[in-house]
Amino acid sequence: MNIKVAYSTKEKVEDIAEEIGKSLEGFDAKTVIFFASSKFDADAISFAMQKTFGDIPAFGCTTSGEIVSGHMLNQSVVAMAMNSRIIEDMDIQILQNIHEDPKGAVAGAFKAFEQKFGEPMADMDFQKYVGIILIDGLQGAEEQLMEKIGDLTNVTFIGGSAGDDLKFLKTHVFAQGKAHSNAALLVLIKAATTFDFIKTQSFAVSDKTLVATSVDPAKREVLEFNHQPAVEAYAQAVGVSVENVADVFMSNPVGLMMGDEPYVRSPQRTEGQGIVFYCNLLEGMELAVLRSEDIVRDTKIALGKKQEELGAISGIINFHCILRTLELKNKNQLDDYGKIFSSVPTVGFSTYGEEYVGHINQTATMLVFK
């Protein structure tokens, strides 16, 4: 076994770190990634986890729910340890002040990666290297961070925006025994094994389209679709009254289409006649109206397909949108979803946004190690 997972639902930070440490005792870990409910003192959990694992880098973030093989949890800590058969080498960079200067922060981290690995990020083999990105989920910096990363390298960075159990007050990323806000982690891994990705959003694409004709990207707001007030045009496209649009936001987000594949943009709330989204939309973007399907069924299919492609899977890190978690909860399917991952070492968390090539919503992005 090259990847091992553990979790704890204890109340005290010290007890949690001890329980997880014991579960992973004897495993020759190269790194530990962990996701912790925001109910715990962020500095204390980061310190306790790093202390437990000593020189082994332990990193992660706060959540709005945790995922571990077989279970969808709340108010817990989940952890995954990976050994040198999974990770040949790695480096963790903490990006500070991402709200003020996201692009500068990426450039700085990439310089450090280049020094560590001895080759330009632009030249790194995207089949040998993979990146994990964890971001403070309340800074609105995801688009700029992902765009800068994509400009500078062909290496895929996958990850999620940290949560805080739907309080929307403060989220943290964890590294070097500390908790960081207004920050992101970039983790560059030189993999010792094959890796791949699952991106699944469980939506059917309708034939209704909306073109963003007036936007405020900084506020992630669309003022007009199809030269009409956004609320009005969206209501017409979905087939509901203007008064009831918010009721269908979760089941009918919109998708920026890459061939047959939607990159989901989820409406958050109305703002007058405009609609604020969970990620930005640019003027001229053409979007398909989406219709929600069965998340459990869709995820089973996606995982089965990946297992077939890779032959076997050693472990999965699942960055799972909180809106999907809420939908599963509404449909009483949380247990069914957790069970999909029973036989595969898996950790993950319910995010405030998912990252894969860009910033997306209502999606599960998964890093899969063979």
């Binding site: 632009a122 995207f126 765009e147 994509g150 400009d151 500078l152 062909n154 895929t156 920026l256 890459m258 990159y263 640019l282 003027e283 001229g284 973007m285 053409e286 090539v357 860009g358």
Partner: protein, 66 residues
Amino acid sequence: MAGQVKKMLDQIILKKSNGNTVIMSTTKTKLILKGLNPDKFTALSEDNADIIKKVREVAAEMGVAV
């Protein structure tokens, strides 16, 4: 003049990917996320100075000469 935007976007994809089909696809996705969908332009698309300026800026950000 027509077709300049399509030509420039295709050059970005080709140069960024060195012909690797996976990277070609990813680069196309990155361009679409930046609001430049290569499929929306053809050899007959009218050259628009503002769009050409934007494509040049994107190419520079991606480290590609067009």
